[in-house]
């Protein structure tokens, strides 16, 4: 065989390169869905919910079906970003934890996640929707279709308080209404300790405006934060806690919603309003704090905001039946009870609430009382496909009011105008 001259070698290399490049260039501009390994089952999950109870279920599921379980955990914003990109590329996971009720509806109406009613009606033993609390189910339904199954059901609006700090300030019980809250906050504010701590995350304003009978949205009427006088009263009150009464530090704008919990754990705040997800970090991180947990405050009414994640199946999931099977295992009552025991998380099943272990737990009793007063959600906003856009506008307005001290009335008016235009 004659040796190949250097020039011939280069010419050959060039030819191969050009052919390869032309082949690549002729491929579709939108990448085709990457074929997943059929033995890999991918799950997207919130990083804060990686409980051992779920891990055991997922591991067992992998063994039972001879699958490699790829359990990926993200912070909520990152999960949303990745999922959006996946929906566009067509390379989707097999199961996804839904950030909040309504998100699945938004994805479902765009054809990105499956309606699960047929699976549920064919699987009577699972008990959906009969064994699930109505508010968790209704918030995930639109025009008779259910786009996600509730995993957790929680309420944002619980009052966390440091019993020792309140006691030292002369209070033997937590505040129950706004006037008492302000009184306690003023009395416990001293030196480096703030009486309370507000959150930079706008969703934490919901309990306050709900307590003034304000609805965040009425998408049908294109109205936001109405009635206006109640919205003004609640947001002005929050702003005054920071800038007039100086009983709360101005929150710091970050993507982290755990600021108040960290201040509380560091004994720099006597009270804050949040949900059951903050019980675990406080108990584990600051066991010396005598934590008090109280029912939501009463403004014009007693109210809390519904929270809690769900489970949804992407429309292009490899084997939706397999995904459904895992949902039934993850949302089984015994797993709910195990997750509650492990992390104090509250759950959506009626049989969970009726369990003696749950009924006897004082913290869970408080959460149950909060769940009884959660405000109704506007499912039409999720169905409009504009919920994320409107929430981003609300984030801007809320931070302008509580961090940058912007005039409340004008900022709310601007938000209503922008949100209405977005719809």
């Amino acid at each position: 065989m004659p040796p190949i001259a250097r020039r011939s070698f280069l010419q050959l290399g060039l030819g191969v390169t050009v052919l390869g490049a032309v082949g690549t260039g002729c491929s579709p501009a939108t990448p085709a869905a990457k074929k997943q390994d059929p033995r890999t089952f991918t799950i997207y999950w919130n990083a804060g919910h990686g409980y051992q109870a779920y891990k055991e279920v997922i591991d067992q599921f992998g063994k039972d079906h001879d699958l490699q379980m790829n359990w990926q955990k993200f912070q909520w914003p990152d999960l949303t970003t990745k999922l959006t990109a996946d929906f566009r590329s067509g390379n989707v996971p097999d199961l996804v934890e839904e950030v909040s009720a309504g998100t699945g509806t938004q994805y479902g109406l765009a054809g990105n996640v499956l309606a699960l009613d047929e699976f549920a009606s064919a699987d009577k033993a699972f008990g959906f929707p009969g064994d699930f609390l109505d508010q968790a189910v209704v918030a995930r339904q639109y025009e008779g279709k259910t786009y996600s199954i509730p995993l957790h059901l929680t309420a944002n609006g619980l009052l966390f308080y440091n019993k020792a700090m309140l006691s030292a300030a002369g209070f033997d019980k937590p505040p129950s209404n706004w006037d008492e809250f302000l009184e306690v906050a003023k009395a416990t504010t001293k030196d480096k300790v703030s009486g309370c701590s507000l959150n930079s995350d706008p969703s934490y304003a919901a309990p306050y405006y709900n307590q003034q009978k304000v609805d965040f949205s009425d998408a049908g009427a294109k109205q936001f934060m109405m009635p206006a006088d109640g919205a003004l009263r609640s947001l002005q009150w929050m702003q005054d806690l920071i800038f007039t009464h100086k009983v709360s530090p101005a929150p710091v704008a970050t993507t982290d919603y755990s600021g108040p919990q960290k201040l509380f754990s560091a004994k720099r705040a006597a009270m804050f309003v949040s949900g059951p997800w903050d019980i675990g970090p406080i108990r584990q991180g600051s066991p010396d704090i005598d934590l008090g947990l109280a029912v939501p405050l009463t403004g014009a009414v007693q109210s809390a905001a519904m929270a809690g994640s769900g489970l949804m199946i992407p429309a292009k999931a490899r084997d939706p039946k397999l995904s459904w099977e895992l949902i039934t295992k993850l949302a089984a009552v015994k797993v709910e009870l195990a997750a509650t025991k492990e992390a104090g998380m509250s759950m959506p099943r009626k049989s969970w609430a009726a369990d003696p272990a749950v009924a006897a737990d004082p913290s869970l009793g408080t959460i149950a009382k909060a769940l009884a007063v959660v405000a109704k959600q506007d499912v039409a906003l999720s169905a409009s496909g504009k919920a994320a856009q409107v929430n981003e506008l609300w984030k801007k307005a809320y931070q302008q009011m509580v961090i940058q001290h912007a005039p409340v009335e004008q900022t709310l008016a601007d938000f209503r105008k922008q949100a209405g235009a977005a719809l």
Binding site: T24, G25, A29, P249, V252, T255, L263, A266, R268, Q399
Partner: protein, 283 residues
């Protein structure tokens, strides 16, 4: 070798680079441009509607304006800091190699780490900076709330000053010592030598630093995303952050693509203007 063969050989060697850029840069840019001509559903053709929409979108105009302020602030302060450090560490000081290395560390650190680091340092309640200020009897800062954009500029300068310093050091070491010696004999003081010799002879380096800095600052996304989430309000929602929100929050990839093409045009124009200015300065 004939001229034709020479050209062929040149093309042969250039081909991998040309293909690399064509496939990984120009093709995606073309695809981006095409996507920008469609509505958020990716199906309805809207022509240049997404492009014209940007000029009437107050959020986009705000983000563009603050990005220009951020870029200008970072370029001026960052260049001055890098040049100052380079001049100091170009002297025969003990331990200068160590200082040069230490100053380069922030640039070599991942932007995610830098962002998280500063977010924790600057936290008004639990951050270490306020603890130190408190210990020194000074009032605490709330810069992330009161001066968020300036704070992001400061973090960017801190992160990039080491790299700018290295570039200027290379430029300084290319200036013949003879010039300084002659100036010294003529009685020129340190400031006179700096303004009459150092600064003019560093023009190519300064130009390079400005162009690279401008391109990277106009595209800045990670720092505001990690440190402030674009807030408070929209005070640090720079153009690339806004673009990200439009794409991944509003799910409007057509509009986001149009915004990215507009950014490309702005960067390209400003870079060409800078190059032209540099050419005139060198002429």
């Amino acid at each position: 070798m004939t001229r034709r063969r020479q050209a062929l050989t040149a093309w042969l060697f250039l081909t991998p680079a040309v293909l690399f850029f064509a496939l990984l840069f120009f093709l995606p840019i073309g695809n981006q441009l095409l996507t920008g001509l469609y509505d958020s559903d990716g199906v309805s053709f809207v022509g240049f509607g997404n492009f014209t929409r940007a000029f009437g979108d107050p959020e986009v105009l705000h983000s563009f304006l603050i990005t220009l302020v951020y870029a200008a602030g970072t370029l001026v302060v960052g260049t001055a800091a890098g040049l100052g450090l380079a001049v100091i560490l170009n002297q025969a000081l003990p331990g200068r190699t160590l200082f040069r290395s230490v100053l380069l560390i922030p640039y070599l650190t991942s932007v995610s780490i830098v962002g998280l680091l500063w977010r924790n340092i600057l936290d008004p309640q639990v951050g270490i900076l306020n603890r130190l200020l408190e210990a020194a009897g000074l009032p605490g800062q709330t810069w992330l709330s009161t001066h968020p954009l300036a704070t992001i500029v400061g973090i960017t300068v801190w992160s990039g000053a080491g790299y700018t310093m290295v570039l200027f050091l290379a430029g300084l070491q290319g200036i013949p010592g003879l010039y300084y010696e002659a100036a010294r004999i003529d009685g020129a003081g340190p400031w006179r030598r700096f303004f009459a010799i150092t600064l003019p002879l560093l023009t190519p380096t300064t130009l390079f630093v400005s162009i690279i800095g401008l391109i990277s600052t106009l595209q800045q996304f990670a720092l505001p995303y990690i440190v402030t989430g674009g807030g408070p309000g929209n005070a640090t929602s720079l153009y690339a952050h806004r673009l990200f929100i439009v794409a991944f929050n509003d799910n409007d990839f057509g509009y986001a693509s149009a915004l990215s093409v507009l950014l490309l045009l702005v960067v390209l124009t400003l870079s060409l203007v800078q190059l032209r200015i540099g050419d005139r300065a060198n002429a």
